[in-house]
């Protein structure tokens, strides 16, 4: 088994949930490769730009660090050129929901056979604390000292409206659940979307907020949008996590 760490020194804040995402991913890969479900040389881990993107430096795998917001078309390109590869992308809420949201929408539409993990911390952290599309209305960041004017949007609902073939949400602090969802996403044939709630301990510490509200839906994912809607609904201020929706449909790359 190939060592998954590299010489690069980890520069995330001590205690940052990004490290838990890294651990969950390494474990997911180790399990899948040791079960011969995946060849290590056929994995390509891609990353956008933001705190999340540093993960590529810490993975002794094929990696491609793209531009801010642009990793999704890059992933489709890699998968299209070589269908043997398993293409996994690490993105952030700034990366996937602000700068590059058009690519998210179109990759879901075309059911590109790529796996996207969005480190959603509801803040631009690497640029030291500005609002993103998932920051709450009224949020006081460095660029919005009098409060954010924009309403946040719900990425899960957006992805469901696009009939995305795999839709899940996980919580970075739960390494074991995150690992399981990652494995399921990687094994899914088609576009797999996973929103990872990843509290930023430095600029927007939501750890306690989410710990109190998150609950897991452990039943089978829905295979029709109406049932998925039921699963996604926040019940009395609680936040559901798990795999909401999974369907099978032809992938973009297979139809080329």
């Amino acid at each position: 088994m190939q060592e998954l760490n590299t010489k690069a020194k980890i520069t995330w804040c001590a205690g940052c949930p990004n490290s838990q995402i890294l651990v969950a991913f390494r474990e997911a890969i180790t399990e899948l490769t040791s079960q011969d479900k995946l060849k290590i040389e056929n994995i390509v881990a891609t990353a956008g730009i933001g705190c999340h993107g540093k993960i590529a430096e810490y993975l002794n795998l094929n990696t491609y660090t793209s531009l801010h917001g642009r990793l999704i078309p890059t992933m489709t390109g890699i998968k299209t050129a070589n269908s043997n590869l398993t293409v996994i992308g690490f993105s952030g809420d700034g990366d996937a929901y602000a700068e590059g949201i058009e690519h998210l929408i179109h990759a879901a539409r075309r059911n590109s056979d790529i796996k996207l993990f969005v480190h959603d911390n509801q803040i631009f952290a690497l640029t030291t604390g500005q609002v993103t599309p998932t920051s709450p209305k009224g949020f006081k960041g460095k660029s919005t000292p009098f409060g954010n004017l924009d309403e946040p949007f719900d990425p899960i609902l957006l992805m469901l409206s696009l009939n995305t073939s795999f839709i899940a949400r996980t919580f970075a602090l739960d390494i074991s659940k995150t690992k399981e969802i990652m494995k399921r996403a990687i094994e899914h044939k088609g576009f797999a979307f996973v929103d990872i709630i990843q509290p930023c301990i430095t600029f927007f510490d939501t750890r306690e907020y989410f710990k109190e509200r998150i609950f897991w839906i452990d039943d089978q994912p829905a295979d029709n949008p109406e049932i998925a809607m039921q699963k996604i609904k926040n019940i009395k201020g609680k936040i559901p996590c798990g795999i909401f929706y999974e369907i099978s449909k032809p992938t973009f790359e297979a139809q080329q």
């Binding site: 590299t6 010489k7 690069a8 060849k39 040389e41 056929n42 390509v44 891609t46 730009i49 540093k54 590529a56 430096e57 002794n60 795998l61 094929n62 990696t63 491609y64 660090t65 793209s66 531009l67 642009r70 990793l71 078309p73 890059t74 992933m75 489709t76 390109g77 890699i78 998968k79 299209t80 050129a81 070589n82 043997n84 590869l85 058009e102 690519h103 929408i105 179109h106 080329q256």
Partner: protein, 571 residues
């Protein structure tokens, strides 16, 4: 009317509204002329709209090479009234005019040369669509110029199918008979060439064929005039060529998707107009730092911004050569005609893989869309794969520093190694770095590739010289201006050396500078306001041109008018 002396060149204009099938009619006539053995040049002018407006195709043919179509019209086919109005001033003496509506003034002016053909009546009789009116005109032209009608029928057979084919053939016959009955002739004594093997082709199609010859696997583009016909041609032929053609959501997706493909080992090219290329800037810079091979066709049109979308310009030279933030080497070539776009297509794809640096081919509306009889031969084209990693050990480094700067490339899926590509400045392993020494070393490594390239640049035809090698006059030009300058050169009073520069970056000073030795009078000709090429020439060689002839009204130079301007400046 203009009394002209144009060396056996004959020019036909077919004009009408958008939607009248002008482009197709011009193309069909050109195919017939090329088939018979004439050198042909066709330009198309059209506004940015789908119906209405004024469109025309101008077709010049001759026994000798026609570098550019002539503005003096021998036959004018007017499918709308505006065509007569617009082109009247350029009619040659004894020019024939085909129209279904002449006003009294026109009839008085043109006399027996005004040929009233009731196009619409013919189409109505056959219950054919109005767009087929042009086929009546094509038949009539065949009789007028003594071209075998059968050749026209053969061309129509290639273009149309079933019912549409039947009606177009019948209409061409009607047009032919109509003139025959009235004995209208304008038989020029222009002998065709024997064993003429050239094909009539536009620059975009020839460029696409060059990419195919050099092993293209995927082409990606978002539509934008004047680059779109590359996308259309390759999309239509993708199964024949065994390639993929993809139209992603925008230009940013185009280039990033293409870079992903190249990282995974695929030979890929993309195309756009300069506005689309402006959107690609950040990813272009990524191609530079991550050393990912990519070919980008950038076809210029009149800017700034949306500008004049369907008209030509050379105003993007400086933007294109300086594109991408940060400093990194790139190759930029500027072909001037379809034979050169073909060659640049092949070279671009090979060079981008050999040097792992992005290659841009600058086109413009003229070279992209104008049709010329050309020799396109893919037989001798080799596919250069570049420096591939040997059977690797576990110490593979994607950005290994080598003597020539070029690191062996390997692709994901190779056992026991990892390939790390990075938009951050990185070390030889591809791991992000902020180490001063490594930053300097990696920049030097990338520019070392340019030095390596320059050592072998002699083979690349970065410059072409025509005309009188010993003249003290030199005319210097680039891109599609080549065609108009070479045509204008037929009408020059004094001799001149004609220097075409094809490579804009890296600039081949070593081979360009000696061409100006002994030259006393340099005239630079280009289609922009700021004399961008003349400035580049001065920057790279220290040579200052004596005169600039510039055009920036989005319309092309006309060869005879240009010749008059040049004659005024020659010594």
């Amino acid at each position: 009317m203009i009394e002209h002396n144009h060396n056996g060149i004959f020019t036909i204009v077919i004009g009408g509204a958008a939607g009248d099938g002008i482009r197709e009619a011009g193309n069909n006539l050109g195919q017939v002329l090329a088939k018979i053995g004439y050198e042909v040049f066709i330009s198309f002018k059209y506004p940015s709209l789908i119906r209405g407006g004024h469109n025309y195709a101008r077709i010049s043919f001759s026994r000798e090479k026609v570098f550019y179509d002539n503005s003096h019209i021998d036959v004018l086919v007017a499918l709308n009234d505006e065509t007569i109005e617009r082109h009247k001033p350029k009619l040659a003496k004894n020019a024939f005019i085909f129209s279904e509506n002449f006003d009294e003034n026109d009839l008085k002016n043109f006399g027996k040369n005004a040929v009233k053909i009731t196009f619409s009546q013919f189409t109505a009789e056959l219950n054919a669509l109005p767009v087929t009116r042009s086929s009546v005109a094509l038949g009539a032209i065949c009789h007028l110029l003594n071209l075998p009608l059968q050749e026209m029928k053969n061309v129509l057979h290639k273009v149309f199918k079933e019912k549409l084919l039947e009606s177009n053939i019948a209409l061409a016959e009607k047009g032919y008979e109509f003139l025959k009955e009235r004995d209208f002739k304008h038989w020029k004594k222009i002998k065709p060439n024997e064993n003429f093997q050239k094909e009539l082709i536009d620059g975009n199609t020839a460029f696409a064929k060059g990419l195919i010859a050099a092993g293209l696997k995927s082409y990606l583009a978002y539509p934008m005039t004047p680059s779109t016909s590359i996308l259309h041609f390759l999309a239509k032929k993708q199964k024949d060529f065994n390639i993929r053609v993809i139209q992603p959501e925008n230009e940013i997706a185009v280039i990033n998707m293409a870079l992903g493909m190249a990282y995974a080992g695929e030979r890929v090219a993309i195309g756009t107009a300069t506005g689309g290329f402006a959107l690609m800037q950040e990813a272009f810079s990524l191609a530079g730092v991550a050393e990912i091979p990519i070919v980008i066709a950038v076809s210029q049109r009149q800017g700034p911004a949306t500008g004049v979308p369907t008209h030509s310009s050379q105003a993007d030279l400086r933007f294109i050569i300086h594109s991408g933030h940060g400093e990194f080497p790139r190759i930029v070539m500027a072909p001037g005609d379809p034979e050169e776009t073909f060659k640049c297509g092949t070279q671009a794809l090979n060079l981008t893989w050999q040097y792992q640096m992005p290659v841009i081919v600058i086109l413009d509306k003229h070279v992209s869309e104008n049709l010329t009889t050309s020799i396109i031969n893919a037989d001798s084209i080799k596919i250069e794969k570049g420096k591939l990693a040997e059977k690797t050990d576990s110490k593979y480094q994607r950005y290994l520093v080598t003597e020539g700067g070029i690191s062996p490339v390997a692709f994901p899926g190779t056992p026991e190694i990892t390939i790390k590509s990075n938009s951050y400045e990185h070390d030889e392993d591809g791991i992000a770095t902020e180490d001063l020494d490594i930053i300097r070393k990696m920049q030097d490594k990338r520019f070392k590739k340019e030095e390596t390239l320059l050592k072998g640049i002699g083979k690349c035809e970065t410059i072409k010289v025509y005309g009188d090698q010993k003249s003290k006059n030199a005319i210097v030009f680039w891109g599609s201006t080549k065609t108009v300058v070479l045509e204008a050169a037929k009408y020059l009073d004094k001799k001149a050396k004609l220097i075409q520069v094809l490579w804009m970056e890296p600039f081949d000073t070593e081979h360009i500078l000696p061409q100006f030795k002994g030259i006393k009078n340099i005239i630079s000709i280009e289609s922009n306001h700021n004399a961008q090429f003349a400035g580049l020439l001065r920057e790279k060689t220290g040579i200052e041109v004596n005169h600039n002839i510039l055009s920036y009204d989005s319309r092309p130079f006309e060869p005879i008018e240009l010749a008059e301007k040049i004659n005024f400046l020659l010594k």
